[in-house]
């Protein structure tokens, strides 16, 4: 039995939500799609903020079925809203205590000091929300949510109202949470970059329906590109830094099936795990390894699947380097000229690789 079973139908004037989902009980699940696709509505259904027909079971507890609807305040969940939802009449510590005080002592699994420490709020405790920056407000909102010791954490585009600097400031906190939280997180986003950094599992929605879902890496590597990323199609892979070469400003990262050279940043030391994003448009294919060319990253791979003419004149090729899938976008003409077909051993020439963390 899947830890989270969610099935909702609800009708609006010009929109209908209809989903059936089984979601994992840990890690970050991204609800991804264009604005208006119903991802926030789905999140609100899960929270019980939106009434709907349906069924919801979380970790063996039924929160909604045809015979009953458990109101939001009786669901052990936490919700981080898109816009600031801090109580303006309470200080930061008043806001943090609001939920914390309402949790019976025996059910608290995180202490006030822990949450303050995790989100770096010590120096802000006596401030009023009006005196905080956007990034600080969202950090308070996240800490306030965690202090209810939830069994499910829902986040509705928590970064979208922030400027680029605040986003950069808050991202490391979110990544730490992903590592340290033992509870499932459902994260609504329309940003492929955020999803690439944070998600383990992805649910793509369009027009109130789920169009694709699965583990992030597998799903991003599908040639039919259910995410509609087109230009930005590409894969995410987990790699580990193995060697640094400061004189060239490069470092080598190994992954299951090969290795890649990356630009060296501060903090990249051997042994550090990184998430790497490789776009389909940055991979070209050669039949042999040509040493006399400038591209640093040459990775042997096997063609797994070809989707011809995904757009007029271009095709998508899925390759496997060991067990790790890659996507390459080629012109259909070069596909013909090189006589590429599934099962063929080739070399991937990777023009650019980016660390997403």
């Amino acid at each position: 039995m899947s830890p989270i079973q969610a099935s909702f139908r609800c009708r609006f004037e010009n929109f209908e939500l209809s989903v059936d989902l089984l979601l994992p009980g840990k890690g970050v699940t991204a609800l991804f799609g264009h604005s208006g696709c119903g991802k926030t509505t789905l999140l609100r259904c899960i929270a019980g903020l939106q009434t709907s027909e349906g069924y919801l079971n979380v970790a063996g507890e039924c929160w909604q079925d045809s015979s009953g609807f458990r109101p939001t305040h009786q669901r052990p969940l936490a919700y981080v809203f898109q816009e600031t939802s801090l109580f303006p009449h309470l200080s930061v510590s008043g806001n943090l205590n609001y939920g914390y005080r309402r949790i019976p002592r025996a059910e608290r699994r995180i202490t006030f000091d822990q949450a303050v420490d995790w989100l770096g709020l010590t120096h802000l405790l006596n401030r009023m929300p009006a005196k905080l920056s956007g990034g600080e407000r969202q950090r308070v909102a996240i800490a306030r949510a965690l202090l209810t010791s939830p069994r499910l954490l829902l986040m509705d585009e928590p970064l979208s109202a922030l400027d680029q600097t605040s986003k950069q400031e808050i991202m490391p906190y979110l990544e730490n949470l992903r590592e340290s939280l033992a509870i499932p997180v459902i994260y609504v986003s329309h940003s492929a970059a955020e999803v690439a950094r944070l998600a383990d599992h992805i649910v793509m929605m369009d027009n109130g329906r789920v169009v694709a879902e699965g583990p992030l890496q597998e799903t991003l590597a599908r040639t039919d590109q259910p995410f509609g990323l087109e230009e930005d199609a590409g894969v995410i892979l987990n790699a580990t830094i193995e060697q640094v070469e400061p004189e060239w400003h490069l470092c080598r990262a190994g992954f299951d099936g090969g290795e890649l050279w990356l630009r060296l940043h501060d903090g990249l030391v051997p042994g550090k795990p990184v998430r790497v994003r490789v776009l389909a448009r940055d991979i070209s294919i050669a039949l042999a390894a040509h040493p006399d060319q400038s591209i640093q990253n040459l990775v042997p791979a096997v063609i797994d699947e070809i989707a011809r003419e995904v757009t007029p004149g271009t095709s998508m090729v899925r390759l496997l380097a060991g067990q790790t899938p890659f996507l390459a976008r080629l012109t259909t003409r070069s596909l013909h000229q090189l006589k590429l077909e599934a099962g063929r051993n080739v070399w991937m020439q990777i023009k650019s690789v980016a660390i997403v963390d």
Binding site: A47, L49, P71, T72, H73, Q74, L77, A78, Y79, F81, E83, S85, L86, F87, P88, H89, Y98, G99, R102, I103, M128, P129, A130, K131, R144, A145, T148, L154
Partner: protein, 225 residues
Amino acid sequence: MSPEWQAVWLTLKLAGITTALLLVIGTPIAWWLARSRHWARQPISALVALPLVLPPTVLGFYLLILLGPDGAIGQLTERLGIGLLPFTFEGLVVASVIYSLPFTVQPLQNAFLTINDNLLEAAATLRASPRDRFFSVVIPLARPGFLTAAVLTFAHTIGEFGVVLMIGGNIPGETKVLSVAIFDHVEALEYTQAHWLSAGMLLFSFVVLVSLYSLNNRLQPGVVR
């Protein structure tokens, strides 16, 4: 007590009781008007606002009929053993509550309308029940609205005249409030006494409004004090 002080005391007592009752009655009405999408919202809004536009004598006249021996409420109070309400202090309280209703409901309704839904939803996700949300989020955020409502209701009840005359008459110590006392003095050409009471009322009203505005400024939520 001199008749003047008796009138002052009676007026303050009437205004105080009316304000307290109206805060209790008006809060749920204002909350419902601010939150509901029910079809009856508009007619009920209009009904609440009616005392603003109706001549007080009209309101007083209908109340007199309704509370009198032939009126539905009059018959009910008689059957309950309370007796008839017109020309009693209790009758004045009933009339004042109706007369001042919009002065409580409208500021509260406006204050409730400015509270972002988002905050109530956030409170719900932080385990607060609807009742808990009302007391821990709505009331603190609507504090300026409550203050405005209380002060306006109090002041408006003090200035009540037409309704009092219609339903309460002019019984010293029972229904003779300040405004009626001033009217009596003027009728009797006792301008000195009329001046004293009128100037007192004027000063009182001014001081009340000034303190209301400055307090409201300071009570804005989010302002660091």
